[in-house]
């Protein structure tokens, strides 16, 4: 088994078997995290670089902890204080990092396809930590791990995702990954934030938040960028909260044991009313631990593939 490709660019590039292998490995990694002694030696002597062209405290920290727990040397490059700002091209920067003997480059970029563009030029493995509106595979994997801990099989499960679908790489990665495992994904959001042809990714577009959540096994809210209001995608925060938030009533339409997720950070009172965010069904805080476990699994499996070659 193991992973087929050198890089983890997106859920598009993974098979159902590979996704399950990552999730099973992540379950073991989670035991390591929870064991108290968090050190493993899987990545000892290996070097990992995070290359972030976009700010993200949580994703970056999650990757850094994952690599530290497994004993790798890691370095961070971000948009401030490096060549990234000095007009050097993405490819030049990536090649430089590659030539320094880096094993894995974890990259976040505001342009869709940026990791896909550099990966073929590099010896290092590239992990996509979010590219534009395209994909965020490790977020989807951690969401799926959160689900996998609560049900044994994805087959026939209904997952509801509500919010700004258009700009969301989390939706794309989840829709692709969940469909591959046999789950049914239903989405809802303002029509101005619903991308044309989303049905062809195997998802169903619902008519309302309640319709989207009806009989769902899991419900996911998405962060809405408040600046989208300026591009006329919705008129005001209060109107958004009234018509598009996941309310108590919407959550009640889901299955009784359904749980609520959110990739964070959440705008309280906008996409989720505070009482919903904090409700018993919310597993938002558990998702964060799973993020580290999934990233440990991804780094472990990519490194195992490198060691074999």
């Amino acid at each position: 088994m193991g992973l087929k490709n050198k890089d983890l660019l997106g859920m598009k590039q993974l098979t159902a078997e590979e996704i399950m292998e990552i999730l099973d490995t992540a379950k073991m990694m989670k035991m390591v995290i929870e064991s108290g002694n968090k050190k493993t030696t899987h990545l000892q002597g290996k070097s990992i670089v995070t290359l972030f062209y976009e700010n993200s405290t949580r994703t970056r920290l999650s990757f850094e902890l994952a690599s530290k727990y497994m004993g790798s040397a890691s370095a961070n490059i971000s948009t401030s204080g490096s060549s990234v700002n000095k007009g050097e091209s993405l490819l030049d920067t990536a090649r430089t990092i590659d030539m320094m003997g880096t094993d894995i480059i974890i990259m976040r970029h505001n342009q869709s396809g940026a990791p896909h563009f550099i990966a073929p030029y590099l010896n290092a493995s590239v992990v996509n930590a979010g590219d534009g509106m395209n994909e965020h595979p490790t977020q989807a994997l951690l969401d799926m791990l959160t689900m996998y801990e609560r049900f044994d099989s994805f087959e026939g499960k209904k997952i509801a995702i509500c919010g700004d679908i258009y700009h969301s790489r989390v939706v794309r990665s989840n829709a692709i990954g969940l469909s591959k495992l046999g789950a049914k994904v239903s989405v809802y959001g303002p029509r101005t934030m619903m991308p044309i042809g989303i049905e062809e990714m195997g998802v169903t577009v619902a008519d309302s938040v309640i319709d989207c959540c009806r009989d769902a096994d899991a419900v996911m809210g998405l962060r809405v960028q408040l600046e989208r209001q300026k591009s006329s995608l919705f008129p005001s925060v209060s109107e958004y909260a009234k018509f598009y938030a996941i309310t108590k009533e919407a959550l009640a339409a889901a299955k009784p044991d359904a749980f609520l997720m959110h990739p964070g950070p959440c705008n309280h009172g906008v996409e989720l009313p505070t009482e919903v965010y904090d409700c018993d069904q919310s597993v938002i805080n558990q998702q964060v631990t799973n993020g580290v476990a999934v990233r440990m699994a991804v780094l472990y499996l990519l490194m195992a593939r490198r060691n074999e070659l």
């Binding site: 091209s89 896909h116 563009f117 534009g132 044309i196």
Partner: protein, 418 residues
Amino acid sequence: MRLILKNCNYLGKEQRDIYIADGKFSEKYPDDQADRIIDVKGALVTPGLIDMHVHLREPGLEYKEDIASGTRAAARGGFTGVCCMPNTDPVVDNPAIVASIIKRAEEVGNCRVYPIGAASKGLKGEELSEIGLMKEAGIVAVSDDGKPISTAGFMRKVLEYCSDFDVPVLNHCEDKSLSGGAMNEGPVSTSIGIRGIPSASEDVMIARDIIIAEYLGLPVHLCHVSTKSGMRMIRDAKARGVKVTCETCPHYFTLTDDYCVDYSANYKMHPPLGTREDVEAVIEAIIDGTVDTIVTDHAPHHQDEKEIEFSLALNGIVGLESSFALCYTYLVKTGKITLDRLMDLMCHNPSDILKLGRGGMEIGDDADLAVFDIENEFTFDKNKMLTKGRNTPYDGWKLYGETLYTVMGGNITYEKLC
């Protein structure tokens, strides 16, 4: 120069020898009076091709292309006439720049170059440029290409003013308030997370221009039409007598937006590659006469502008050296259109729209012709291109119709070396 081409497959109609003297097609003369005799061994001979939509980038953007390299590429594509768009630096919006382009093209001598002037000063879409003076200096049309002619009100003034000077108006159709993405909007853009450009962006402006042209009773030419409903509107407008003409490009009948999935900017242009339905509609429009001419929209860029992140890359691909082969392979060889129709699309119609008086092969006409190998398949190789640009999506494609010779005004401007 006295040149004889022996064993020509003349327009796919008959085997004949072609005699050229003093830059013109001439009567037969004895072999020993020729400076050169070429046996083309049954290869196809056509009139020299004309491309009315090319970006030669000079003045100012010579790092992408210049008149010398662009016209060498044109000659390699079988072209003896190209029209160059005014979005250079500075913009071609005054007679001095027009004259300098014509002078430079004559010095180089690879191809006839017909400049297109800017419709508006600085391509800003606000004030008319000196269209009358530019016409005297040699422009054959005006356009703000790269951008649409800004507003309906300004378009009306351009059409009216140009009618005084009998200058054709060519418009790049894009409603900027709808565009703003990097590829066609649809399932593919949604799947790969690239901001889409709806086909409605092109269609809204096609509709606008048809309405204004019809209202004024004046002609308008629509550039690089790529959409199904755009073609339908133009077909309908022509049927009721609106003086609208249009062009399309080889990439709009050979490629779809599916090619964008790997984020290669060699599939990024404006208008963007459409769906399979758009491709079929473009082919139908080529067959039924809705399309008047096939152009390349040859748009060379430096690799630093193309081999980067998809959304940041500039729009456009090079096309002069692949155009005939793509048209021949995908339209004529497949039986969709005849060779005669292709000659209308690639020579006679653009000559008529712009009143260039080209394409004749009678005795006494300027000797402009091209010789193509339509029997043997060849592999299109981007490294053999003569343009400075390397931004082609066709590298490695197997095609028919490689250029063997191009003759312009009796001089050999391209010769395939084995």
